[in-house]
């Protein structure tokens, strides 16, 4: 090959190119002499791979996993065989973590907005510049409006380190996990005040595997996949447990139910109170358990006496014989009966706490506390505490008025500042302005109802930054985007599981980080430096993990030599004769005086949520088993399993409207907001007064190449939000839709009459 003649290039060109030459010429900074050969393993599939134990984070259930690595690439994820909760199993999402690491749509480097907010015009910047910019804005906002103008929304393990920065800056608005106020908040409060501990929060202590009967109220375990839950549920079922499912929709577990009650949406508490009354009136409760361990029984008995089965049958649109058969099945199984709280509790605003109180009350009446099959007690795993991954404690001035302490929601301060208050403060400047938002691991535009308000609130901010793996809607609106490392690339804290078989495990990097991605600890540590915040003294994650493991008599190396996971004996059950729960009196509170003190109901009452306006059906939603919130829709494999959601529409309604299966329609809500086009699933498996869709689809972010515009987003149809009076959680089942097909508006006919006791929502538009 005659190199000299290669490319007929003029001298002028060569000279011009020479001018542009940087150190890169010659590829000296890209290549070096090889030190080893490329090792391509001879074995097929994932076999012959190196195995590194870690913890999944495709959802927040955190199953122990094994990452299988070949030639520096992660090729497969399996469950950690040592794990007592999932063994070698992982769900569809767990299996798809590989795709997350190697998705070309990942945020790869710090980005700075150079166009308008929402436009998606960015420049690449260095970590130094990005952190400088964030630090500068945090300081400016603090100086101008005070520390509480800073707020931080976070979700997931990687977000915890940065929370400390906000805390150290002196704001009260830093533990505002939107998830809590969009999900389990009301349930957590109800159980905390009834049985004295949070049986349903980050963890759930429901012993389905040993239950002889189970009640699920709209909980769709199996479609909502947390592997340990599904396994316990299936274990219970295969042991012969009787299953009662109450749901307006014929869900996956409804299909397995012995008795299915297709309840009118919004009337669950009516059913629960009628059942409680029936149990009391017919002496189906555990008298000795109640006498020994509960207080407020007489008050309860008096309060519920008018909730008859006949009345409830009318309110709930159920057959009285089915209702009776169901409660008798549950009573027969007592105390080994599981009244399951479900997971997502923020349905109607008013009454969400009461509904969960009623589950807890029925649990107590059956004596199903601390017994196999009922709710059980956690067994904490002993750990050390490392101070070094946190900022030094600083004295901070309290906000006056405080959003946290002077909240209109008397119980919200237990859990932090209500998400809604922070959004409102950004929108209205009251009670004080919120001007800077840090968002980490949560797509607030999809997650919070009424995204229009959220976008308006963002427009009012001086500065917003986010830390994200994929550029979702919130990233589109951010001033600075920091690339988040995928859970397979980083360390996090330790995972101590306090369920039936407690265990301790650790998330650790399976592969080296891709691109210019840093670990969450590194980011917090370096941002702290820029802000002059002291602390974060550990060199790296390994240092503080070893510190914490000392308390368990372990080191990282020791833990890894034991398969990355150690188990401990559990202590979930109690002798009912010596039961002492975490309430002030040590007794289960069938009536909650603390609620009464705040002029809220000590014992739940049925207050009907308004029925759909004429021509509309209630919008219901739920989780698809292969997706997590709106986070996984762009994952190649998961997208392939379910690329879009469909609208479940009652077959009789569809026939009347002339809508066929798989036809595409648009939804319009009671305020005239319209959805993306969505295909229809015509089915007898949904009541005629409701429609249903899986949540998380219909992404509005063009940056998610696969997910963009696929299916419809339930959140974008939620403009009527009712706040629960206890903690201010956002209601999500208080919106109504009708159908637009081929440009024509179709009113949904009313096939089931609404009883007079239930008011009707008044639509503001014709």
């Amino acid at each position: 090959m005659n190199r000299r003649h290669f490319l007929k290039m003029s001298a002028a060109t060569a000279a011009a190119m020479a001018v542009t030459a940087t150190g890169d010429v010659g590829g000296g900074n890209l290549f070096r002499p090889a030190t080893a050969g490329a090792a391509i393993g001879p074995e097929t599939g994932s076999m012959g791979a190196r195995e590194i134990t870690s913890v999944c984070e495709m959802c927040f259930w955190r199953c122990p996993i094994v990452g299988k690595v070949k030639d520096g690439k992660i090729v497969k994820i399996e469950g950690n065989p040592k794990s007592p909760v999932n063994g070698t199993r992982v769900c569809a999402r767990g299996n798809s973590g590989v795709q997350l690491v190697y998705d070309p749509d990942r945020v790869k480097t710090p980005l700075k907005r150079v166009g308008a907010r929402g436009e998606g015009k960015w420049a690449k910047i260095s970590w130094d510049e990005a952190l400088d910019e964030i630090a500068h804005n945090m300081q400016q906002v603090k100086k101008k409006y005070g520390p509480h103008a800073l707020a931080y929304f976070d979700h997931g393990a990687s977000a915890e380190f940065m929370r400390g920065i906000f805390k150290a800056m002196g704001t009260e608005n830093f533990t505002s996990e939107p998830a809590f106020y969009q999900c389990v908040g009301p349930a957590a409060l109800a159980y905390l005040n009834t049985v004295g501990y949070v049986t349903t929060g980050t963890r759930q202590y429901n012993d389905m595997g040993h239950a002889k009967a189970m009640l699920l109220v709209a909980s769709h375990i199996g479609e909502n996949v947390h592997v340990s839950h599904v396994r316990e549920f299936i274990q219970g079922m295969s042991n012969g447990a009787k299953l009662i499912v109450v749901d307006p929709r014929f869900s996956a577990p409804a299909n397995k139910a012995h008795i299915y009650l297709p309840i009118r949406p919004g009337t669950d508490t009516a059913l629960m109170l009628a059942w409680i009354n029936y149990v009391i009136q017919n002496n189906l409760y555990d008298k000795s358990f109640v006498a020994r361990n509960c207080e407020g029984f007489d008050q309860l008995k008096a309060e519920v006496k008018d909730y008859s089965m006949e009345w409830a049958a009318k309110i709930c649109d159920l057959r009285i014989e089915d209702m009776k058969a169901a409660i008798l099945e549950l009573a027969k199984a007592a105390p080994h009966v599981n009244i399951h709280p479900g997971r997502h509790a923020t349905w109607y605003g008013k009454g969400d706490v009461g509904r969960h109180q009623s589950y807890a009350i029925l649990t107590a009446l059956f004596g199903a506390v601390g017994v196999p099959g009922g709710i059980y007690f956690p067994t904490p795993v002993k750990l050390g505490k490392a101070e070094c991954p946190e900022p030094e404690e600083v004295e901070t001035a309290e906000a006056d008025p405080s959003m946290k302490e002077d909240s209109p929601y008397p119980f919200s301060n237990i859990f932090g500042t209500t998400t809604r208050s922070i959004i409102n403060a950004a929108l209205t400047g009251k009670p004080y302005p919120v001007k800077l938002l840090g968002v980490n691991g949560v797509n607030i535009i999809q997650t919070l109802p009424n995204p229009y308000d959220t976008m308006k609130a963002i427009k009012n901010l001086d500065f917003i930054f986010c830390e994200e793996m994929m550029a979702g809607e919130t990233a589109l609106w951010s001033d600075i985007i920091l690339p988040d490392s995928v859970y397979l690339e980083r360390y996090d804290g330790l995972y101590a599981y306090d369920g039936l078989t407690p265990y301790l495990t650790v998330r650790q990097p399976v592969v080296k980080p891709m691109f210019d991605v840093k670990s969450p600890y590194w980011i917090a540590q370096n941002l702290a430096k820029k802000l002059g915040i002291k602390g974060y003294t550990c060199k790296d994650e390994e240092e503080f993990l070893n510190e914490e493991l000392k308390g368990a008599g372990l080191t990282l190396d020791k833990l890894n030599s034991q398969g990355g996971l150690v188990t401990y004996p559990g202590n979930p059950y109690r002798d009912s004769k010596q039961l002492k729960v975490g309430t002030e009196s040590g007794k289960i509170q069938l009536a909650v005086e603390e609620f009464d003190d705040e002029d809220l109901d000590a014992i739940p009452k049925f207050e009907p949520t308004p029925a759909p306006p004429k021509g509309y059906a209630r919008l219901l939603y739920g989780r698809a088993p292969m997706h997590t919130f709106s986070r996984t829709m762009n994952n190649l494999w998961l997208h392939n399993e379910m690329p879009e959601n469909k609208l479940w529409l009652n077959d009789k309604i569809a026939a009347k409207l002339g809508i066929k299966n798989d036809e595409e329609i648009i939804l319009e809500n009671q305020d005239g907001k319209r959805s993306n086009p969505i295909k229809v699933l015509v089915t007898p498996g949904i009541r005629p007064d409701a429609v249903f869709m899986y949540h998380g689809f219909g992404s509005k972010s063009k940056h998610l190449s696969r997910a963009y515009g696929k299916g419809a987003a339930d959140g974008f149809l939620m403009t009527n939000v009712v706040h629960d009076p206890f903690i201010g959680a956002d209601s999500k089942r208080t919106n109504f839709v009708r159908i637009i097909k081929g440009g024509k508006t179709l009113n949904i006919p009313e096939l089931v009459a609404v009883p007079d006791e239930i008011p009707r929502y008044e639509s503001k538009i014709a």
Binding site: M9, T20, L30, F31, A34
Partner: protein
């Protein structure tokens, strides 16, 4: 080594546009295009504010509306999975090792177009004709056309359109001059 500059130069053009170099780069690119009988108005290439050029680079190659318009990685195109670190990545690595080279750890995947164009330049310098042939036939030309199509489909700034065309022409030139 002037004769092999084009591929290192092209690699530079495919990396993030930093301050100061834009005008000279645009001029050199239009001259190189002219050498390939591709008529370009050099001033239009240079007449873009740096911030727009950078935003365009991000949109096309890092994170842009509609997803990354044209991810510049072999792996995305070589098999149908469309993700990083798959066959295309394995192929590139294997070729680098065959040349006695390995990629230096950095923030980019070694099957990034900058690595691959640089590697072609290095093979030309080393006179590794057989390896060059294999690299282009069995690897680079298996993904570059698909990448090119996605890039053009994204309606890029003139600079990137010309860059993609010139790269294509330089490959043809290798074919004519080296393997003829």
């Amino acid at each position: 080594m002037i004769t092999t500059h084009p591929f290192h130069f092209l690699a530079n053009c495919f990396s993030y546009p930093e301050e100061g170099l834009l005008v000279g780069t645009a001029e050199a690119l239009s001259l190189l295009a002219a050498d390939m009988d591709l008529q370009v108005d050099g001033s239009t290439l240079a007449d873009v504010p740096l911030v727009d050029q950078q935003a365009e680079y991000v949109r096309l190659f890092i994170n842009g509306p509609g997803g990354v318009a044209a991810p510049p990685y072999a792996s995305v195109y070589i098999n149908s999975a469309g993700i990083l670190h798959q066959q295309g990545y394995d192929q590139a690595l294997a070729m680098y090792y065959r040349a006695g080279l390995e990629p230096v750890e950095g923030s980019e995947s070694p099957d990034h177009i900058c690595h691959e164009l640089t590697f072609i330049g290095l093979l030309l310098e080393l006179g590794e004709r057989e390896l060059l042939d294999d690299f282009i036939q069995d690897h680079f030309s298996r993904w570059y056309p698909a990448f090119y199509e996605r890039l053009i489909h994204a309606n890029p700034l003139e600079f990137y359109k010309i860059l993609a065309q010139v790269t294509e022409l330089c490959l043809q030139q290798i074919d004519m001059e080296v393997f003829a």
